[in-house]
């Protein structure tokens, strides 16, 4: 019942938000729903058995981790959105607010669905719910971004559907249930050739949704043109859900004895994504696009860690939390800077620390966090992934990741330092935006969580991560 409420709450609230006549009051639905969702999620996560609808909905251990991230991140973004929409009163938010809520509902459905087909439907629905969010600014550039997002995303998702059908066909013979638990049980008897083709299709399909290179082309455009709060939710929430979908498929492959094959593919895509991101991040002048490439890089790190197996699984799940929250800090503070300077190019943006001290500082600290500097969370998880690579004698993999991380650090660092240091240029646009409570505090809170994860992972969270890693390592 808890899970049904968890999904129904945002979906019903989106209808309510659409019916509300006032643009001024509508945004307040967001934090109200976010608090309710967080409370329900915190009740559902520790519950031993919460399955509903005949086992179609249930929280598996990796699902619990993603649900925690999703709910916390949405709560942070919901508060921010109230502040943001106050600045954007010239635009109607009648579609924006309901779509944000639908996004929450559909991503929660991805997390909770235990059925191969239902999970696909939910991923596709969350893609469709986010398309209007990217188009919020109504500029020609945002249409272009939305079109590419829809087209590339839908084709990727279509391939994932084909892959799901292949996987279902591989498991045919006698029983026909497509619940993950049953698929895992039958994994050993699955047809290998169908399973291998299925995994490639699912990796490409859900990888498109995650933004792995070379299927990443929609990402810089979409993140560059979407409002910062949408970028934070996409980069921290939606991509993590797509990652979860991939992890579940990988789990089946491992149980079927195809773990090595699947792991090799994931390590390859991971390395390739980090490399592509590093190349494009050097000399990037648009700071929102830079964040998009950073997201591609970290998606690469996630699949790489998962592909390496062993300790990499735990590290990868921890990195998903770290990346999601750090992306929250970066996108939200970048959006504030964007608003204060009315530009997202470093040609116009200098001296952010002077004009918007809080956002400028948070952006700088967020940069240090995402590039893996101690004492922030990503340092720990990246360190664990690297040590797994070296422990497994994958020296070439570990070495190239280290080198690429260095390239990313220097490339990103140059852009960020130009932005935050110095004095605002006299000729640049001046806007009335200054740091406020509603737009500053959420990013600050997000950074505090990243710092906490770096200093000491709280015991309940660590238990969740360990459960998930143990679950993924073993096959029934």
């Amino acid at each position: 019942m808890l899970l049904i409420a968890l999904i129904a709450l945002p979906v019903l609230a989106s209808g309510l938000a659409f019916a509300l006549p006032s643009d001024r009051e509508r945004p307040y639905v967001l934090p109200a729903v976010a608090v309710g969702h967080l409370a329900l999620a915190l009740a559902a996560i520790p519950a031993a058995d919460s399955s509903a609808l005949g086992g179609w909905l249930a929280l598996d251990p990796p699902g619990r981790v993603v649900l925690l991230l999703l709910s916390v991140l949405f709560a942070i973004c919901a508060v921010y959105a109230v502040g943001y929409l106050r600045y954007r009163q010239e635009l109607s938010n009648r579609v924006f607010v309901p779509c944000l809520l639908l996004f929450l509902g559909m991503t929660t459905l991805v997390v909770c669905s235990q059925h191969l087909g239902l999970m696909w439907v939910a991923v596709e629905a969350s893609t469709l719910a986010t398309a209007p969010l990217i188009y919020f600014n109504r500029t020609p550039r945002s249409i272009e971004a939305t079109w590419k997002y829809l087209l590339v995303g839908s084709v990727g998702i279509a391939l994932a559907l084909l892959g799901s059908l292949f996987l279902a066909y591989a498991s045919l013979g006698g029983e026909s249930s497509l619940l993950f638990g049953d698929l895992l049980g039958r994994a050993e008897r699955m047809n290998r050739s169908w399973l291998q083709v299925a995994f490639v299709l699912l990796l490409v399909g859900y990888g498109t949704k995650m933004g792995l290179a070379p299927m990443h082309t929609w990402k810089p455009d979409a993140y560059g043109e979407a409002p910062g709060v949408v970028g934070a939710l996409l980069a921290g929430g939606l991509t993590s859900c797509a990652f979860l979908a991939l992890v579940r498929v990988l789990h089946i492959c491992r149980a079927a004895g195809e773990g090595e094959y699947a792991g090799r593919l994931m390590v390859f895509f991971g390395l390739f994504s980090i490399a592509v991101a590093a190349v494009f991040m050097v000399g990037q002048r648009d700071f929102k696009r830079m964040l998009a490439y950073s997201s591609i890089e970290h998606m690469g790190i996630l699949v790489l860690g998962m592909g390496l197996g062993g300790l990499g699984i735990f590290a990868s799940l921890l990195h998903m939390l770290n990346n999601g929250l750090t992306k929250g800090v970066l996108f939200l503070s970048a959006a504030n800077i964007h608003r204060a300077f009315d530009s997202k190019s470093i040609d116009d943006v200098q001296g952010a620390m002077r004009r918007v001290p809080l956002s400028g500082t948070l952006f700088l600290l967020g940069f240090f966090a995402i590039t893996g500097s101690p004492p922030f969370g990503p340092f720990v998880s990246e360190f664990l992934i690297l040590s797994r690579a070296f422990a497994a004698d994958r020296f070439v993999v570990g070495g190239s990741v280290l080198l690429l991380l260095l390239v990313v650090f220097t490339g990103m660092g140059r852009t960020v330092l130009v932005m935050v240091q110095g004095l605002p240029s006299a000729g640049g646009a001046r806007t009335s935006y200054r740091d406020g409570l509603l737009t500053g505090l959420p990013a600050l809170l997000s950074l505090a969580l990243v710092l906490l994860l770096g200093l000491h992972v709280p015991a309940p969270v660590e238990a969740l991560l360990r459960d998930a890693a143990r679950f993924l390592e073993t096959s029934p």
């Binding site: 188009y135 079109w147 590419k148 066909y169 810089p220």
Partner: protein
Amino acid sequence: MLRISIINLLLVGVLLLNLFMLGTSRIRALIQAAALQGVVLGVIPLLIGTHRDWNAGLIAIATVVLKGSVIPTMLYRALREAQIKREVEPLIGFVPTMLLGALGTLLSVAFASGLPLEPEHRELLIVPASFSTVLTGFLLLTTRIKAITQAIGYLVLENGIFIFGMLLVEAMPFLVEIGVLLDLFVGIFVVSIIIHHINREFASLDTRRLSSLKE
């Protein structure tokens, strides 16, 4: 055996429609062909399943109505509102894409024969027809420059996946099938809204104008 022959005959029709879609120069004809393909695909599952029940009938009706009528109507409306030239405008000519499509069909047959099938599926053309239709969808998506033809390409791609789904009529639950159809409907709906906006902003549906975002 008659049942299998009829199904294969219909699937050959689907393959011919693929080639026609790659070769036609009129958007209207393209929409009609995609709609006809959708209707044929809606009917085939009724012939395949050994047990027919209400759910199978409902899905067939929903598919035929959605792909044969609702989606074409939305696309026609987008076409009419946009008041664009009714030609397809390919990046690569019609004959080369048709040849590519034919080659793709051949490769699909070859690839499909390498995959192990359940005994009851061996005589059906489902797998090659599915791969070939997916490829046709890809070709339409990548070699046609108008937003609306790209949307039709996506529709054809989805048709190809639908064909493969026929092997799993018994395994795929009713809810999921309806969910997939619903996603397709909402997807085309969102796409047609975006097409409307592209047309308003750029006074054209030429996606080559959507090129200001790049490195």
